[in-house]
Amino acid sequence: MAKKFKRDFLIRREKRVHYLKLKRIKRRSYLRLHPNNNTPSNIAQCARQAPDNVSYSKEDQAYRVQLPEGANLSAGYSDTIATIYTLRDAGIDRRTICNLDFSRLQEISTAAALILAAEIDLWNRRCKGRLKAATHTWHPNIRKLLYQMGFFELLNKQYVPSKDETKTSTVFLKFETGQVGVTDGGPIIKSFRKQIENVTKKKIEKHALFSALSEALTNVSQHAYSGSNHNGFKSWWVCGSYNQESSLLTIIFYDQGIGIPKTLKPARLPEYLSSGFGRMKDAERIQAAMEYGRSATKDPSRGKGLPDFLSLLNSQNNGRLRIFSRRGSCLFQKASEGKAETKEKQNSSIAIKGTLIEWIIEL
């Protein structure tokens, strides 16, 4: 009798723990999307109003994190990033088991796929084997794309091509990763270039690609992870995709550092002081970093690297560069030699963790 009582008590306590944890995850998710709605009465309701992207399964004793129908950093930005945070929050407790539910997912952009791959990669390093996925429920084309990127290796799954797969015009490239101070990124960039040439069957300006990506690597090692909360993983990831119909090559570089807006110090330029640099939003800070080549160190010999990102655009006829960092995003196109023109800038209520750089060029 006493044993049964104890067992029932432990089961009820376990359910209560998971209920409270789920409520906390949903509350955090809600507050990220509505940062100004943090009054006590709203917080009490936010678990009910939070995106419906996480649940707890008693049968599997695992959290289920569900991606939306469209995962991308344009129209679906908020939902996609909110789900990524939910996945991250669910994994804070290393004992957690989590099921990745991609059954609703119909389309995924290269950038969203890389951020997701980065989260899964870090999850595996923190708590190996506790991330599950029923890959047979995924849409066949999604399964094929994510297999190309390397998701199946991350999830330790076997890929079996489906009869329902249709030929897609987009091919994903396998992602590469490294750690600051551990990995020599140079050979990785070279092998990534060869992967691009194998998939596209076209030659790419190797020096332009190397200039851009090596500077991204240098920025990560010099600035991104200085004093930030990175749980010991100072990592970076790079991947790409190629659309055979439009001949558009997309290259993405991602890190989870503190972000460009936080690394930049105010300029000494009078116009920036008068514009209240301290009140500038994240998108404006990204713009300033690119257009004025300012450095985090205020050292005049520094700050020449960010414009290197334009070298890929300079080498092609058409191309654009988008940088997402924290709450800001800026879209640049080539203006004149070595200079960028800001085509668009946006500030969002939900921040991307770190910095994501996206080049889209026509081969």
Binding site: D184, G186, A208, F210, S211, S214, L217, T218, Q222, P300
Partner: protein, 106 residues
């Protein structure tokens, strides 16, 4: 006139970064182990840019701009340091190096 030829491709096919924090083949290492000894022993130093994947500005600025910090003057480098490349795509690096040296000398 004693001339020394230095090929960056012999140092690394994929050099990048400023310091060892960035990677094993960084600008400070190239400057201290190859450029500075060559400039101290030879009258003319020819640096060949060909044969690598490319260069980032951090590597070039640290390797060549950093020569000013090592005690070499802008005019001295202008007379004794020759940057060579046969690759049209690498021409921009030649111009960049000259600019980095000038900026550091200010």
């Amino acid at each position: 006139m004693k001339t020394k030829k230095v090929s960056i491709a012999d140092f690394s096919e994929t050099p990048y970064g400023r310091t060892e924090k960035d990677g094993p083949h960084h600008g400070t290492k190239f400057r201290r182990e190859h450029l500075v000894p060559a400039l101290r022993q030879y009258e003319i130093v020819e640096v060949d840019l060909d044969g690598t994947e490319g260069y980032g500005s951090s590597f070039l600025e640290e390797a060549f701009g950093g020569l000013i910090s090592e005690g070499f003057s802008k005019s001295d480098l202008k007379n004794r340091l020759q940057i060579k490349t046969t690759d049209p795509g690498f021409q921009m690096y030649k111009n960049a190096i000259n600019k980095y040296i000038e900026d550091r000398a200010k």
